[in-house]
């Protein structure tokens, strides 16, 4: 009996056949696999999903819109060109975050070199500021993932986080069964936790 299709072939075909299904319907892992396989649709989809996060991270860290846009462009260009080094078993947003941190650090270094050149008389200019402030990437990650949650999950978590409502108060407020609220809370929290853990791993 012939081996058909082999696992390898199926994997290779996934990226082609994925063209038949709108990238918007792919889960994050599928985007990662197709990205690694060199499917341009996956690059576009990765940009659609995570460019706001990368752009915001760069903007908040560099406080300059033009630099933030340059960094965002560089992150996706570098990621695409370096996709051979991407392990599809890892989450793509975490990998992109790592590339973004490097690109942001480069801009900070360039700036401090410029500053040093401008202050040529000063022997050393110590730069003690962190390229990406502690906690910033984590906060942006959660904000980004929250914005991605569907409804009613987003409203439920917003009420739990920021209005300090208990699950029975939320259930009453939204007129949803208790069990539904509890299960949405658990699943959405786990989703946020997973994305955060990925960010940690990327540091």
């Amino acid at each position: 009996m012939i081996a058909w299709p082999t696992v390898e072939e199926e994997a290779a075909l996934t990226s082609s056949v994925s063209l038949l299904r709108d990238p918007a319907t792919w889960d994050d892992a599928e985007v990662g696999r197709a990205f690694g396989a060199g499917d341009e649709a996956a690059l576009a989809e990765a940009f659609r999903r995570w460019s706001a996060f990368v752009h915001t991270l760069a903007l908040r860290s560099l406080r300059d819109e033009s630099d933030a846009q340059d960094v965002t462009q560089q992150v996706f260009v570098n990621a695409w060109r370096g996709r051979a080094g991407y392990d599809p078993a890892r989450a793509l947003p975490g990998w992109l975050t790592g590339i973004a941190r490097n690109a942001i650090t480069d801009v900070h270094n360039r700036r401090s070199r410029q500053r040093r050149d401008e202050l040529a008389a000063v022997a050393t200019v110590e730069t003690t500021s962190e390229p990406v402030a502690a906690g910033l990437a984590e906060r942006l990650t959660v904000a980004d993932e929250l914005s991605r949650l569907g409804e009613p999950q987003r409203t439920i978590l917003t009420l739990a986080f920021y209005d300090d409502l208990t699950h029975d108060q939320i259930s009453e407020r939204l007129d949803l069964p208790l069990g539904t609220v509890k299960s949405h809370i658990r699943r959405s929290l786990v989703r946020l936790r997973d994305r955060l853990e990925v960010e940690d791993a990327a540091c």
Binding site: A12, L13, Q69, L189
Partner: protein, 240 residues
């Protein structure tokens, strides 16, 4: 001892005062439940520190345009979550330019006139004008170094032919066979044997290219088994 219900642990991580005595006793002694609450509570802490300023600010459109232009990607490739068939076109053109100039010229014109400068043309007979109705880049499968392209031409009288180009893959063990495969990779139509770097295959009139969109070139051993060997060299998706 039974673990605490995961949904209850999530609520505890949010700071809710719930759970009966048994559950609280278990939680105080169970490393697994404690670790779960701790990880979720850390997430809650980060989430509660989020301010309005942390809202994602979308990258302006010109950033995508910059990426597309720096990487030389098709202008049709849009981050809109949809499939745009046109985006398979540029790599096809690129492949053709490398491997088979005669197809590139044909595609540029949008039309292939049978008989225009190709070794694959038989005899001197005048063939009806053909239109390219689908095309595909053929990409190598793991372990193969080959490139190729495929176009489907349709003549005025409705006859469709698959024209494939093939470059590399010198270490073929047997012979090369050309197939159309359905999207689920469960059904195959054999089109014939490919000899040399180009080949032309008449499609059976009943074959629907939407149903069988995958072009596959396989390495077939001389084992007398007419089925696909499972060893594909190149594959691509027709954008019909």
């Amino acid at each position: 001892m039974r673990h605490v219900d995961p949904e209850t642990l999530a609520l505890i991580a949010l700071g809710e005062q719930i759970g009966d005595d048994d559950e609280r006793t278990h939680l105080s002694r169970c490393p697994q439940c404690t670790a779960d609450v701790a990880a979720l509570a850390a997430t809650v802490t980060v989430a509660r520190s989020v301010t309005a300023a942390d809202e994602p600010a979308p990258a302006p459109r010109q950033v995508w345009e910059g990426i597309r232009s720096e990487l030389g990607l098709s202008a049709d490739l849009e981050p809109d979550g949809r499939v745009t068939p046109a985006r398979t076109t540029p790599p096809v053109v690129a492949t053709r330019r490398r491997s088979a100039p005669w197809i590139a010229a044909a595609a540029a014109a949008g039309v292939v006139i049978g008989g225009v400068g190709g070794a694959w043309v038989t005899g001197n007979r005048t063939e009806p004008a053909a239109t390219v109705v689908a095309e595909a880049t053929l990409d190598p499968l793991p372990g193969w170094e080959a490139t190729g392209g495929a176009v489907v031409e349709e003549t005025e009288d409705g006859v469709r032919e698959l024209v494939v180009s093939f470059e590399g893959g010198d270490d073929v063990g047997g012979y090369r066979e050309v197939w159309l495969i359905d999207a689920d990779v469960t059904r195959l139509v054999s089109l014939g044997v490919l000899v040399g770097s180009t080949g032309r295959f008449t499609l059976p009139p009943g074959v629907d290219l939407v149903e069988f969109p995958v072009v596959d070139i396989s390495d077939e051993p001389f084992d007398g088994d007419p089925a696909h060997s499972g060893d594909s060299i190149l594959r691509g998706l027709l954008d019909a």
